[in-house]
Amino acid sequence: MNFELVGRRCGTIILITTMLVLFMPGFCPAKYDYIDISNPFLRKIPIAVPHFKSMSASGNEQKISENGSQLLSETLEFTGFFKIMDHASFLEDTRKAGIIESQINFLNWTGIGAELLITGGILIKDGVIEIELRLFDTFKNRLLIGKRYKGQQADLRQIIRKFCGAVIYEFTGKRGIFESKIAFESTGPGNKDIFICDFDGYNARQITHTKSITLSPAWSYDGKWIAYTDYKNGNPDLYIKHLTEKRGFVVALKGVNISPAWIPGKFALAATFSFSGDPEIYMLTGTGKIIKRLTRQWGIDVSPSFSPDGHKMAFVSQRSGTPQIYIKHLDNEQVERVTFEGQYNTTPSWSPAGDKIAYSSLGDGHFDIYVVNIKDKQPLRLTCEAGDNESPAWSPDGTLIVFGSTREGKARIYVMTSFGTDQRRLLALPGEQTNPKWSSNITNN
């Protein structure tokens, strides 16, 4: 566990994570069979998250305990894997009965259909918050995860996210999304500027203050750098900015300097420049020096997105007359067309598993999000009859897709599962929000 990072960053106290379990199950048969990875959202796992128990029964503890259990429920629900059960259906009050295995009557939980149960205990002493959290399999009467966290009260959200990360790791063997962020454009400041929020829309903040048009954010693979286009010197120039240190690079060539996308695992990116008289995609170093030209067709070539291994690049090209998605194999220079339906297919986003590309397509006068399987090139439509839906981007674990939509009038940012279910708004800020991009899990930012 690297939870001490929180303590270090906050400059507060050292946080500890202790495995509460003294005995681990001797064997873990079918450890990952809870969630069907092929389509985990068809059947959500019913999970009960009763209010945390206040260990010293102080008023402050009780308030934080309710906030904590609410936050835990929301964070788990966000993943799309779980169905959070209604507190009104609970037969047992864990605040009274107790939160450890021997004190829980699992029949009270299986009886209402809960397959999983999370209990929590909270103790606040001298301003320090101590939370113990346990995940139980109610049918197997077994403790799956037990952890204890210590921190400041302000660390509650991070503690909850840490535990959710452990829960998701238990079921999927993956790190989840809880340390990822989303960058987007917002017109709130009176012009388009770049904003960043946490994966769940929380903690939105403005990171450019240009008083000009600023757009197209792109995360480096490690989440430390962001590239974007900005008109602050009059022309659409490309900026490469370190998010925490005050340094960066500018590419200000004649014509447009737009649509950056980073190459996985490298301090390098691709972008479209039109200094040749035609918008073409180039590969450049993280410091903004052109390495090579990647497209050579007359007409627009734009919006690169790389496969996770970095060997292939999806992009939009007008070479057939209308904008369509193509893949370029960087090893042998071959180009294949991916989309064949519709007259306007743009903004490809390569899935983290490498097998699919999400994109937006114009049909019946509206844009919708599609996902195409690269092998059979069969597109699957994920949004429908809900305004214009554009600019899809995958979560780092590939389970969710963030996108822009005008379904409620103003342009806002929404999230859905990668199968198109559970569509919901991520956040609403003043102005309009567009063009979201999901970062990897950022451990030290």
């Binding site: 649509s259 035609d278 918008p279 919006s303 114009l362």
Partner: protein, 183 residues
């Protein structure tokens, strides 16, 4: 003065081109000297004639200025429109650009900025590229008409600066344009 006469020549050429067919040509300027001049003595007549001529020149200059201003405003205000997802110039767009070329040839000191714009449909990045293509088509067309390429720069605003608000065909048609500004 040399500039003024150059300007006069230019304006006459442009106004002829721009307005003659549609507006019936530039307005006639009063040139008849007043009748009373004949009865006055010679020096008086000379002085009066001088005065009248000065007035007349002032009027002419004002008219030249007005027409120059009009021509300049027309150059700036008359946008070139494009079909959906196209950067190819329509016959109407080419007509407008031919008029702009005349003006640019007549005002050799002017440097123009060609802005490429798109309607709000479609994606930000693609539209930035499309706006670039539109501005480029305009520039290349004017170069073919003999305007020096170094007198024109291009900038794409994509869908970021619609001139006409609204989520409908009427607005989209007006927003798919190349706009001229003077550097």
């Amino acid at each position: 003065m040399k500039n003024l006469w150059m300007g006069l020549l230019v304006v006459v050429a442009i106004t002829g081109l721009l307005f003659f067919a549609s507006c019936g040509g530039p307005k006639e300027i009063e040139t008849e000297p007043p009748e009373s001049a004949e009865q006055a003595d010679v020096s008086d007549v000379d002085a009066q004639q001088e005065e009248e001529l000065a007035k007349q020149r002032a009027l002419e200059e004002a008219e030249i200025m007005r027409q120059a201003k009009e021509a300049r405003e027309m150059f700036l205000n008359e946008d070139v429109y494009f079909d959906y997802d196209q950067s190819v110039l329509t016959p109407e767009a080419q007509d407008i650009l031919r008029r702009k070329a005349v003006w640019m040839q007549a005002t050799p000191d002017v440097k123009a900025i060609v802005e490429g714009h798109c309607d709000e449909r479609g994606t930000t990045e693609y539209n930035l590229a499309l706006g670039d293509r539109r501005a480029q088509s305009v520039k290349v067309f004017l170069e073919d008409l003999g305007i020096d390429g170094t007198r024109m720069s291009t900038i794409s605003y994509g869908e970021e600066q619609p001139i006409y608000p609204g989520n409908n065909e009427e607005a989209w048609v007006k927003n798919r344009r190349a706009h001229f500004a003077i550097d």
